[in-house]
Symmetry: C2
Subunit: 172 residues, 2 copies
DNA sequence: CATATGTAGATGCAATTGCAACTATATGCG
DNA sequence: CGCATATAGTTGCAATTGCATCTACATATG
């Protein structure tokens, strides 16, 4: 992954910070720093994980996300719109990603009885196998990049803080 | 922004976690959760910020990052490779982004005397103005999305945790 | 039933990204 | 100097993304 939208501190912002948060448009220096770190770190980590998969001759992270959801869903499969809710991919992105996954026989599309517009996506055996191989690499990346750098309680603290930044979606 | 590589918990990972971190490839449940949150939240936030810029008829975040670095650099400008170090963009991405910025007269390319291969990029007046207008929107996004959701000390705590996940680069 | 509106998903096209190769200048070294 | 290698930056081409639109089916309402 080589798209990096990295942000940096705005020099002027730290000069005069006085008013309370709710009344101002300019963020506090602390907010800017946290934002900048979040942007930079998340991109570095994604890139590292993507590189690891690439080095292993495996598909990109996006494929893992979809295969993971479908594996969890089991034989019943999921509707594309449910994948959109869970993964936050854009609609057209899911549409095309599923087409690629189907072309690789990692998923199959099934007509759904009670809604003529829809389809159900089900992971195949090959898809499960691919997901397993991806997890071997991806999981190692997570262990190295995050698990090895913070203690369990620090990881919990980080999760709690990030949770507060989350925006509600249909799935979580 | 509509590319979302969202990760989710691996169901099997939480079943039997016993060995110590250093010996295993499978990450702890806490590491997986922190990773998943980081991926999900960072993408949501980027998307929100990008949407805000789009709604304001402004260029994407990537432009801000480059304009910001160039504005900080002042009249001396920066070499493209310095921008790469600071922003973490891929080399070919910077090359083309600068071409677009130059086409919009937001930056100018200057031949550099002591290295015939290189060039120096300098922000123009129009570039500074565009950066200012972008910051009005972008800064508000940061204030709303991050500044308004965590206290100053929580923001500091978040920054410190994220710092530990950072990977060394030429610039930081 | 007929029309209007909403939802599920696909797709044409332009822009961007990623990869790999390429040009051009610089530097190290015999 | 002359060649090998490294660095700075660009570019052709394929793949992916984003936008806008489009088709098809579903649901609501008179």
């Amino acid at each position: 992954m080589h798209l990096h939208l990295v942000v940096n501190l705005d020099a002027t912002a730290s000069i005069a910070y006085a008013a309370t948060m709710s009344e101002r448009a300019t963020p506090s220096p602390e907010a800017i720093k946290a934002w900048a770190r979040l942007m930079r770190v998340s991109r570095q980590l994604v890139e590292r994980a993507e590189d690891a998969l690439k080095d292993g001759g495996l598909p990109p992270l996006a494929w893992y996300d979809v295969l993971h959801e479908l594996a969890e869903a089991g034989e019943g499969g999921l509707r594309p719109f449910q994948l959109i809710e869970r993964t936050l991919f854009a609609q057209y992105n899911i549409s095309r990603l599923l087409a690629r996954l189907e072309a690789d026989r990692l998923v199959e599309k099934l007509r759904v009885a009670d809604d003529g517009r829809g389809q159900t996506i089900r992971i195949t055996g090959k898809g499960r196998e691919t997901r397993r191989r991806m997890w071997a690499v991806y999981g190692r990346s997570i262990a190295e990049l995050v698990g090895a750098r913070l203690s369990t309680s620090e990881l919990d603290a980080l999760s709690r803080l990030l949770r507060r930044l989350r925006h509600p979606t249909a799935s979580d």
